[in-house]
Amino acid sequence: MRIYAIYNIKGGVGKTTTAVNLGYLAAEAGLRTVLWDLDPQGAASFMFRIKPKVKGGGKALISGKRPLDDAIKGTDFDNLDLIPADFTYRNMDLLLDDAKPGGRPDDAPGGKPARRLSKLLAPLADEYDAVFLDCPPSVSLVSENVLHAADTVVVPLIPTTLSVRTLEQLAAFVGEFKGFRPEIFAFFSMVDRRKKLHREIIEQLAAPRGDVARTIIPSLSVIESMSVWRSPVAVIAPGNAAAKAYRALWAELRAREGLASS
């Protein structure tokens, strides 16, 4: 089972669209896939027409009172399931901190609360080949958990100076991890090639950095219309440039991992 965390400290960079589209493409390639919508806004759940509600809320899941398995919902697509968002996820930091075993204070960086998500996901290994975590934008215990759980951190970047800084911050943070460190796979999203700044930043950043993908996701209206159609772009418009771009991104990600994309 391979865990992909779709993460950026910034919001509005296309994390959910990335999680939904890559999750769909993984399932289409035959990987048994589950997407966990960790964002209390529940955008990914909305995209799959699944109510953003978990029985017992986030507390029951994080504490282990209710197995993760119980919360899983089938999407309309073969091989693709979803663990819905819940409004209580807004307090997930607190939930993760409360869930530390025996109630002992253990708040050292990378300590047990930071690995709670990893533990919760472990039982899914028999059932799924790929897990996508759609993360809320923040730097918190949730994001620390996500980064510790992930094999690959997929980072959508809008080509702006600030966005590039966040990638550097993230790389530095992950670089401090003891033991296993996830791979970072960043890519430019919502790119408008008519904008000079976008073109310049892509040229500046893509060449020297090994963790930035060659594939670029353009800013196209069909991606925005995903929330209208509530489906991945490969379903709404399979021949569209956006669908092709996401396929290329998935192929590049798998190639980077030394795995076939289909």
Binding site: R32, K73, G74, D76, D81
Partner: protein, 555 residues
């Protein structure tokens, strides 16, 4: 992630009605869900769907060995690989095994050797033995899938509508099957869909095997062939009617096996045909007189069936050699297995030649005339002598007595006579008696065995089993004694023929000599066992058991 399924089968036999019931089912679901066709049918869990339709072929031996053992063998082709699936009717998951196959021709019979090296082959080898696996039913199923959407447009369950049809010589549609497939996390909605379908008139909940439906359409029934006599006779039938019924049943078995013999599907078609011919000849001897045929007619039919028996003997003898060959090779002590290869090649070549002679005979006008005329005569006798022999009264009010009496009387008289012959001849055999005396006793024993089998429905089952069990053990002993002698003689004559044809290397002749030595040892052992077997069958207790059987009770 495999969804649970709940199944329904459309009732009735009219395809037009079936369409209406499926439409009613969709309408019922439409009251609660938005029902929309799925663009491409999802593969059912555990099936190898090709996206459009699913083919399946089921196999059994001609004598239904798989069905009797409670197992089903299904061939399912698939793009990703075809496979054979062996499943058990019993709720025992361990019994279900699959075996991938390549280049499998579904419409042809297959011998167990075609499945060698796989788990299905290993599981079936001893059950199927020398019999071929014959396709008994084949279907093609088109599946239409529908999504059941909630008010958010989310798929919360799926409805799969299977439209199966039998393919092959007797094609035809089968009742559609509906299944509700759960979507994970939406069990309540799937249950609701099931409840809606349960209320649809003309839909029955259940999971009858598709194989059963396909068989029914083709007019087949598991167990519709058996080489047992099982004639439908009763004690009060007129003797002639019972005799004709028994002989017609034997003729049915002869006819049922003819096609399999000519197509050379497996060796047992010829074996069963021969057994029925032999039984026919014995029946003519035992009770041919009650059929009210002229002596010339009786003689003519007896000669006809002797001709058929003789026609089949060379091929059957060679079949026995070839079937025994693996065991013969294993029994070699000094010779190497390869030494016998020229012997096997010679046997196979000779079998091909003899088989051509056999098929010419079975396709000849003489054979057709014999069997057709025989059937016509027997059917006429059966019709004329149907009904009960007792209870009817003539004009003068006297109880009607048909010529030859009732089946009960016939069974008792003729079985007793056959038993007396066996008992007398067996008692006369001493350690110094020539082999021919034992061979003659075996023939008389066969006649007795057949007499018992013909009239089995009239006997008390427990008493019958006791008598037949003892007789079978005696016959096995006499059979071993005679068959080994015949085989020794045959091997000697084959050795001479091979030598004359310059097809006999010295090592092969030596190995054949070793085989005959082994056979001779078995023959001596059978001879030594004879007295014990005969005593068990025909001593005072044995005679009492037989008398009780013929009286209609137990000793």
């Amino acid at each position: 992630m495999a969804p649970a399924m709940a199944g329904f089968i459309v009732d009735g036999t009219d395809p037009q009605t079936w369409d209406d019931i499926v439409a009613a089912a969709l309408a019922a679901l439409g009251e609660e869900f938005t029902v929309t066709p799925e663009p491409a049918a999802p593969a059912r869990p555990g099936t190898a769907a090709d996206g459009l339709s699913q083919r399946a072929t089921w196999y059994d031996t001609f004598d239904w060995r798989l069905s009797k053992a409670g197992v089903t063998l299904e061939y399912v082709p698939g793009r990703g690989g075809s496979e054979l699936r062996l499943s058990s009717a019993k709720p025992d998951a361990d019994a279900d095994v699959t075996q991938p196959v390549a280049g499998w021709q579904p419409s042809r019979p297959h011998l167990i050797g075609d499945l060698e090296g796989g788990p299905v082959g290993a599981r079936l080898a001893s059950l199927v033995a020398m019999r071929a696996l014959i396709p008994v039913a084949a279907t093609v199923t088109a599946t239409a899938a529908y999504r059941l959407l909630n008010s958010d447009g989310k798929t919360v369950a799926r409805l799969l509508v299977d439209q199966p049809a039998v393919t092959g010589p007797q094609p035809g549609p089968l009742p559609p099957r509906l299944a509700v497939a759960e979507v994970r996390g939406y069990q309540a909605q799937a249950r609701r869909a099931v409840r809606l379908l349960t209320a649809v008139t003309g839909l029955s909940a259940g999971a009858r095997p598709l194989f059963a439906d396909a068989l029914r359409l083709t007019g087949r029934r598991p167990g519709d062939y058996s080489n047992k006599v099982d004639a439908e006779i009763s004690a009060d039938m007129p003797a002639a009617g019972a005799a004709a019924t028994i002989l017609l049943r034997l003729l049915d078995t002869i006819d049922a096996n003819g096609g399999g013999v000519l197509a050379d599907i497996d060796t047992e078609f010829l074996h069963d045909l021969r057994v029925s011919v032999r039984r026919t000849r014995s029946a003519l001897k035992l009770f041919g007189d009650v059929l009210a045929l002229t002596a010339e007619e009786l003689e003519c039919y007896a000669a006809g069936f002797k001709w058929v028996g003789d026609l089949t003997t060379p091929t059957r003898d060679l079949d026995v050699h070839l079937l025994d060959f693996p065991g013969t090779v294993r029994s070699l002590a000094a010779a190497r297995p390869d030494d016998l290869e020229p012997f096997r090649a010679y046997l196979e070549g000779r079998r091909r030649r003899e088989f051509r002679v056999l098929t010419r005979g079975l396709r000849s006008p003489r054979y057709a005339a014999l069997t057709q005329e025989w059937r016509a005569r027997l059917s006429k006798i059966q019709q004329e002598r149907a009904g009960s022999a007792t209870g009817r009264r003539n004009r003068a009010g006297h109880r009607y007595q048909p010529p030859g009496g009732s089946a009960r009387v016939l069974a008792a008289e003729r079985t007793r006579a056959a038993f007396v012959k066996v008992a007398k001849r067996g008692a006369a055999i001493t350690p110094d008696s020539p082999a021919q005396d034992l061979h003659d006793l075996r023939k008389r024993g066969k006649e007795l065995r057949y007499a018992l089998e013909f009239f089995a429905p009239l006997h008390e089952p427990g008493a019958y089993a006791n008598v037949v069990g003892d007789l079978k053990r005696l016959q096995d002993c006499l059979g071993e004694f005679q068959d080994t002698e015949v085989q020794i003689e045959e091997i000697r004559s084959i050795a001479a023929a091979m030598l004359a044809a310059h097809e006999a290397p010295a090592v092969t002749l030596l190995a054949m000599g070793e085989v005959t030595a082994g056979l001779a040892a078995r023959q001596r052992a059978a001879r030594a066992d004879f007295e014990r077997r005969f005593t068990a069958f025909a001593d005072v207790a044995g005679q009492r058991r037989m008398a009780a059987l013929l009286r209609g009770g137990t000793a």
